[in-house]
Symmetry: C2
Subunit: 217 residues, 2 copies
C-alpha cells in the first residue's frame, strides 16, 4: 500500500534543533568562516556529529567529504526548509504584557512571522498602537482576516479565554495557531496548533533544581 507522496516526514527533534544550528551559522558568517563540518558544529553544541549530519540532511543540503558544508548554502537550506524565506501574515490576540513583548520581537519577521494586527477584548486598548501594530476589538478578527490573507494566530490571552479565542481564529480561517497559553486547545485536524508550553520548560528546571537540593542536603 506504498503511498507515492509519503515524502518521509522529518523527525520533529531534528526540526527543533535546526534553529540552533542556524543561530551558530550566522555567527560564522559574521566571523568570515565559509565552510563548517558536522564534527565542528557538534562539539560547539555538545551533540554527536552523526546527529548533526542527520539533522542537516533533512534540509536536503549536500556536503563535500573532507570539507564539510558551505556556510551560506547551509543557512539557505535551513531557512528554506523552515519556511523562513518568506513571511506569513499573523494576528496577535491578547495585547497584555506578553503579547506586547511578542509584537516587539523585530526578529520574527526574519523567521516567517509578520504581525499585521493585534486584538484585545479590553475596549480601552482599542485604537492603541503597540510597537507599530494597531490594537483592535476581537470582533474585527473576521473582517480583517478576510481582507489580508492571515495564516497565523498567536495566542497570548489568559488561559481561560484560550479555547474561545482559538475557535474565533479557526472560524476566521487561520491555518496555524501559536499557543502561548497553558491550555490544551481543540481545533480541527486541518489547523496546526503549536504549543509553547512555558510551564513544561519551567517544570524541567524546578524539578531538577529541587532534586539537586535534596541530594546536597
Amino acid at each position: 500500500m506504498s503511498n507515492g507522496k509519503k515524502s518521509r516526514q522529518a523527525p520533529l527533534p531534528s526540526v527543533r534543533r535546526l534553529p540552533t544550528y542556524l543561530h551558530l551559522l550566522k555567527k560564522y558568517v559574521e566571523s568570515g568562516r565559509s565552510a563548517v563540518s558536522c564534527t565542528h558544529i557538534a562539539s560547539e553544541l555538545s551533540l554527536t556529529n552523526t546527529q548533526v549530519r542527520k539533522d542537516l540532511a533533512v534540509t536536503g543540503i549536500i556536503g563535500k567529504p573532507k570539507v564539510g558544508y558551505d556556510v551560506g548554502e547551509l543557512i539557505s537550506a535551513i531557512t528554506a526548509f523552515l519556511g523562513w524565506n518568506s513571511t506569513s501574515e499573523a494576528f496577535l490576540v491578547g495585547a497584555g504584557s506578553l503579547g506586547s513583548a511578542l509584537l516587539g520581537y523585530q526578529d520574527f519577521r526574519q523567521h516567517g512571522l509578520n504581525f499585521v494586527a493585534a486584538f484585545d477584548s479590553d475596549p480601552r486598548k482599542s485604537g492603541q498602537r503597540i510597537h507599530g501594530c494597531e490594537v483592535l476589538p476581537l470582533e474585527e478578527i473576521y473582517s480583517l482576516a478576510d481582507q489580508r490573507r492571515v495564516r497565523i494566530g498567536v495566542l497570548a490571552v489568559p488561559a481561560r479565554a484560550a479555547q474561545e479565542v482559538a475557535n474565533m481564529l479557526v472560524l476566521a480561517g487561520i491555518k496555524a495557531i501559536w499557543n502561548f497559553t497553558p491550555a490544551t486547545l481543540e481545533a480541527p485536524e486541518s489547523v496546526i496548533v503549536e504549543d509553547v508550553r512555558l510551564y513544561s520548560s519551567l517544570a524541567i528546571l524546578t524539578s531538577r533544581l529541587s532534586e539537586n537540593l535534596r541530594e546536597t542536603k
Copy 2:
C-alpha cells in the same frame, strides 16, 4: 556496580506533560470533581491512558482501581514533584519587553519562581520599578545574590550578551538558568541550564505550515 542512590530519573517527556495535567486538574477542582481516571484525562488531552498512568506514576501517586485518582491528592503530588510547593528566589536579567512581561507573570510565584530583582545594562533603567521589581545595574548581581540566597537566573537579554551574563550568574553562585535567548550557553556541569527555545517552537509551526501550503498548491 548497582548504585544505591540511582533513584530512577523520571523521563523528561513525562515531566514536560505534568504541568498540562495540573492545569486540567485545577479546572476539575473548580467544577467540584473529586476523582478522575487516566482514561478520562487521556481522552481530554488526546493521549493514551497508559501514557497518562505512567506519567502520573513518576510523582509517586497511588490510585484506586475502578475509581481513579483523588484530584486533590494528584494536584499535591504533581506540585510537590515539580518543586512548586515552595519558591526559589530568582533574578531577571534583561529588562526589555520580554523581561518586563516575565516580571508581570504573577503565576510564576505559584510555580516555584519568585523574582527578587531585575538587572539591566542600560543605566537609564536603573532604579525603575517594573511590576514591583526594582531594576539594578548588572554589576550589583554579585552582592545581591549573596545577600538573598538567589538560586535561579532568568535570561532575557539579547542573544549576543547571553554568554557573558550567564558567566556572571554562574560566578554569582546561581544554581539554575532559565534561558530565553536563542544562544547555546556554556556552564559548569553543576549549573542547570534550561532553554526555552522559542524559535524551535516557531520552526515546527512554520515548517508544517509551508509543507501544507506546498501540498494544497
